[in-house]
Assembly symmetry: C2
Amino acid sequence: MSLDDRKLDVLRAIVEDYVATQEPVGSKALVERHHLGVSPATVRNDMAVLEEEGYIRQPHTSAGRVPTDRGYRLFVDRLSRVKPLSPAERRAIERFLVGALDLDDVVHRTVRLLAQLTRQVAVVQYPSLSRSSVRHLELVPISTTRLMLVMIADTGRVEQRLVELPTPITADDVTDLRRMVNEKLAGARMAETPPLVEALVEESPPVLRGAMTMLSTVLLETLVERRDERIALAGTANLTRGGLLDFQGSLRPILEALEEEVILLKLIGEVEPTSTLRVRIGDENEFEDLRSTSVVSTGYGPGPVIVGGLGVLGPTRMDYPGTIATVRAVARYVGDLLAQN
Amino acid sequence: MSLDDRKLDVLRAIVEDYVATQEPVGSKALVERHHLGVSPATVRNDMAVLEEEGYIRQPHTSAGRVPTDRGYRLFVDRLSRVKPLSPAERRAIERFLVGALDLDDVVHRTVRLLAQLTRQVAVVQYPSLSRSSVRHLELVPISTTRLMLVMIADTGRVEQRLVELPTPITADDVTDLRRMVNEKLAGARMAETPPLVEALVEESPPVLRGAMTMLSTVLLETLVERRDERIALAGTANLTRGGLLDFQGSLRPILEALEEEVILLKLIGEVEPTSTLRVRIGDENEFEDLRSTSVVSTGYGPGPVIVGGLGVLGPTRMDYPGTIATVRAVARYVGDLLAQN
DNA sequence: GCTGGCACTCGCCCGTAGTGAGTGCCAGTC
DNA sequence: GACTGGCACTCACTACGGGCGAGTGCCAGC
């Protein structure tokens, strides 16, 4: 059955009121606060239909209605009007992000900004290595049998790792190694590096073979395997906003989920090549513990190419239009910032 | 008035029971669970004295007793017996920390380990730059007017920053700059660097003067000013342990405090040169919002010299002996690990 | 198809009463 | 003088019950 326009209006009004007041909304309050032009009784009939269709529900008989996850979904997809950012918000974004010193700084400022603007938990993924290219590889001798490998990506990411060498090497050897790895790898996309690294070992002169082998192992680990992804988090205190009503009283599982990098990455890191914004509402979340939350996430990057994800997590009862607008705007600003560097 | 031995025994029993059960403990339960060898009435008299002295209090008339901050303090200072780590805990520590790849990895593993063992919020400060020396400075050309400065400290810390140059420079210029800064600064303690950096600018040839000036600014910022300190945090979900009884029901201010790096640094970063362990109980905390928590912190470092702090934060009602033992043990292991590198 | 009216439901808000853990005090004993 | 058993008292907690009112579903009428 298709819902006529007024029923959709009613649903929209319910969502908006419930988000604002956090209390089940009744038919009478609805016609008073929104000028729907019909009587409470009519609204009640509409509500009955909406409930039958699964868009709203009653916490208990003789209470008002509350949107279901399905109701929020419909609201987000078809009913929410775009809420433009206020000038104050725009200014806040600009002020917050100018003067960032390096990538770490950009990410930290961004995540705090997002948390502050949306008043929710913010998550920002560092630019993904797998979507970056190698800008430069540096080898710093720590001792004769130890090197520090510093990898600088074009996105500004810097990763370092210790390399234990099988035999002592000289300063000249280090220079040679440095030249070789940079000639081979500088400019390469991370995904393309494994065969190049293999080649490096094979092409290296016998005297450096042992060192290069160890180096290649660490290189592969650094470039493509673990530590590929990093995450910044802020605003967990916002989970306590709205008392114990959201999240059915137990913050525990949510806080635990937020400590799992793997989970966070799945939440905001799985962005499609296009920079579409994604909203996951309640049930739609794949993680059991996050079924009482919604996640708004999007990719960001300099220009159209996506290098990482960012987003916020909050109660299903969240201000979707505002949150979506903010997340989108912040992602764009961050992208611009990256493009400048 | 001095408390005789039995009164101290009573206090110890109260603390232990309350920590275990989280419920006010009465005289009868006390004599049953601990073999004090006296009757409840006697214990009641002792309790009255302890209460008068401010070591325990009653949440309300006709309830059992609960230790005050002062009571915990006395307990920690004079009554708690050292609780040796279980073999399982020792094994957990070792297993957790072997195989750490680099400093980041060590810090992350440590903080998670601490959180897991103590079941509280764990905080680990990265080795402080101000307590480190410069191992190596690397300059990587990003463009003709941009350099990336990578600073590697002897503690394993790596910091990077972008340097904008006033005029384009050549690859040879970069080589010169790199040589100059390393000759001057490599091996220097961070605290000693400012005059050296000044000298660098003055001694630099006119053609490099502009570049060196910018570089020196960034150097000073990186070496001694901001970003000096970094922090890792884990186990916030443990705050929800024990329901809403601890922290008088409001996690909010605590979560907020934990998001402020400045506060965390003050909590665990202010370690004396010696590696004494510090316990701050409730009121003793300088931050208003943390008056309902206790903090156990200590310094760590390779050998006797301290390079950073670590610790845990939890309800005043915590297992002090166990927590203290764990914090101390983890700090020692981390120190050993750093010494190896 | 909308509306006003009406009976009904049921969560919420007290006030009351009963229960029991725990206390303080005191007289008695070793 | 220190400890003990006994006893009256306090008071948080729980259960019960009635009144209130927001909100509903349904129905007859326009």
